[in-house]
Amino acid sequence: MSTLNLTAIANSNITALYKKELKAYFNSPIAYVVMSVFLLMAGWFFANDLFLGGKASLRTFFEVGRLIFVFFIPAITMRLLAEERQSGSLQLLVTYPISDMEIVIAKWLAGVTLLAATLLFTSIYWFTIFLLGNPDEGAVIGGYLGLMLMGSAGCALGLFASSLSRNQIVAFVFAFAVLFTLFILDSVIVFLPAGIAGVLEYLSLGYHLDNLSRGVLDSRDLLYFLSLTVLGLAFAADRLADRKE
């Protein structure tokens, strides 16, 4: 009966949802708050280094950036699925021709895009350094890549947290707890025997971010972030498929 051809272009559904999520971010204060606070904090540490420390480097910025991400990623991912459950719009979304994994991917992409946009604005700092002297380009690229990879893994884990209930606070707390644990793991290992310490070190965010910020691109570090990303997305899709309401 239907005269319409519905089989054209694959995944226009992912694009549609992705755009909707970006609009949602910029329709609420969250995107602006996250971006400006990140830029202010990063800028302050950068300027501190530059004027008080007398060194033109992004090292402190990258280190502080990680910690800020531990707070900000949960803040931007907490609404992604919990809000849809809370408002009931999930009832419609999951009856459109889009799979649970496609939903999760579209939302993850939106979160990652927001973080990427935020990082893009910090290129002013990078540019400043470039003007002032001899930046260690490997370290700069590695630092940004590290934050992006952390953002990718963090958004996936945050999405999983957001899939657990209709409560955004629960999603924030859960995602924060996971990220913070991964964040501090490498600082507690000094108290532990070498065997366990090695494992925990590999699990910690800091270990891999440090590797990257030295400008060394190692597949083991990539694998770490990639695994966390895939795991988070898979768990989130799995929770989304389990609809009780």
């Binding site: 239907s2 519905l6 559904n13 009856t95 459109y96 799979s99």
Partner: protein
């Protein structure tokens, strides 16, 4: 064609839908009528592939919701209870989102959106955020959302609940319009809804079907029960003395005291369908010098059926046609 086969859905602890089976023919407008908690929403959520059934299946145009949900979704338009739309989006952007989500490509996408705006009367509110709209307009956006991809089957969950009478009339007009060309299933807990819009009614209660047929058929099935209302001036008269005497009258199957209204003590009698006992009752009252002030025969209406079938006691179940329908 839709075939719902032995559908069951159990939530932790409650059985929301208990072994429901029915068929819907292409082009039919079916009303799903039942009190709150009857299992209407749950059945619809399964039909729309929102959640899988605990057991049983729904076959839509030869495809099972269990195995072929992606294909079913494409030919189905759904509006859940309370229209959960993305309220931060302006109307036009929302419709664009849905059309794109539905895989519509330009130029058909634009054409369909314009048609929906026209049909649902959204021209004046296109740039308004959905959250600013009245409930009536919001519902129209919800309908546009369900229809933008020109689905064969439309499922609307309580499409007029929470609307004022004017808005209800508007939405019903739209529903009747869509029902001319499409298979349409709507749920409601208010009776006039189905008589106003549907060719067929399924009455469901406590997760089971208790009646199924056209509104006229269901009224016709009111065999064995006809109600007589009688009222006595309550002042000096004790109705309870009359009850056993009336009960003894041939043809009366039950007598129930329904209280005092405006100084009139009311009794409700159930009698055989064929017998008109009004004259007998008048003579009985006159003979005993009872202060009879009211005597009224109530024809069986859909309202009665609905009320009786959804009380859920056994005597009602017996007269219900649920057992007449198999597979």
């Amino acid at each position: 064609m839709i075939s719902v086969e032995n559908l069951r859905k159990r939530y932790d602890g409650t059985v929301a839908v208990d072994d429901i089976s029915f068929e819907v023919q292409t082009g039919e407008v079916l009303g799903f009528l039942g009190p709150n908690g009857a299992g209407k929403t749950t059945t619809m959520k399964i039909m729309t592939c929102y959640m899988p059934p605990t057991s049983g299946d729904v076959i839509i145009n030869g495809r099972s919701v269990l195995e072929d949900s992606m294909e079913i979704r494409k030919s189905l338009g759904y509006l859940p209870e309370d229209s959960p739309l993305y309220t931060f989006l302006p109307v036009l952007e929302y419709l664009q989102f849905v059309a794109e989500m539905r895989g519509l490509q330009p130029p058909i996408r634009g054409k369909r959106i314009r048609e929906m705006i026209e049909v649902c009367g959204l021209g004046d509110v296109l740039s308004r955020d959905i959250r600013e709209l009245s409930r009536g307009y919001r519902q129209r956006v919800g309908l546009a959302q369900a229809l933008v991809h020109d689905p064969d089957l439309i499922i609307l969950d309580e499409p007029t609940s929470g609307l004022d009478p004017n808005q209800i009339a508007e939405i019903r007009t739209l529903i009747r319009e869509f029902g001319k060309e499409k298979t349409l299933i709507l749920s409601t807990h208010i009776l006039p809804e189905v008589t106003a819009t549907c060719d067929r009614v399924i009455i469901i209660n406590r997760g089971g079907i208790v009646a199924d047929g056209s509104p006229e058929e269901l009224v016709g099935r009111m065999q064995g029960s006809q109600r007589l209302q009688i009222g006595f001036a309550a002042g000096s008269f004790d109705v309870s003395t009359a009850v056993p005497v009336i009960e003894a009258l041939p043809g009366v199957s039950s007598v129930e005291s329904t209280g005092v209204e405006g100084g009139v003590a009311l009794l409700s009698l159930e009698t055989g369908k064929e017998s008109d006992l009004r004259l007998d009752l008048y003579r009985l009252a006159a003979g005993n010098e009872w202060p009879l002030v009211e005597l009224h025969l109530e024809q069986g209406t859909l309202e009665d059926i609905f009320r009786e079938l959804t009380v859920g006691d056994e005597s009602v179940r017996r007269t219900g046609p649920a057992s007449e329908r198999e597979g």
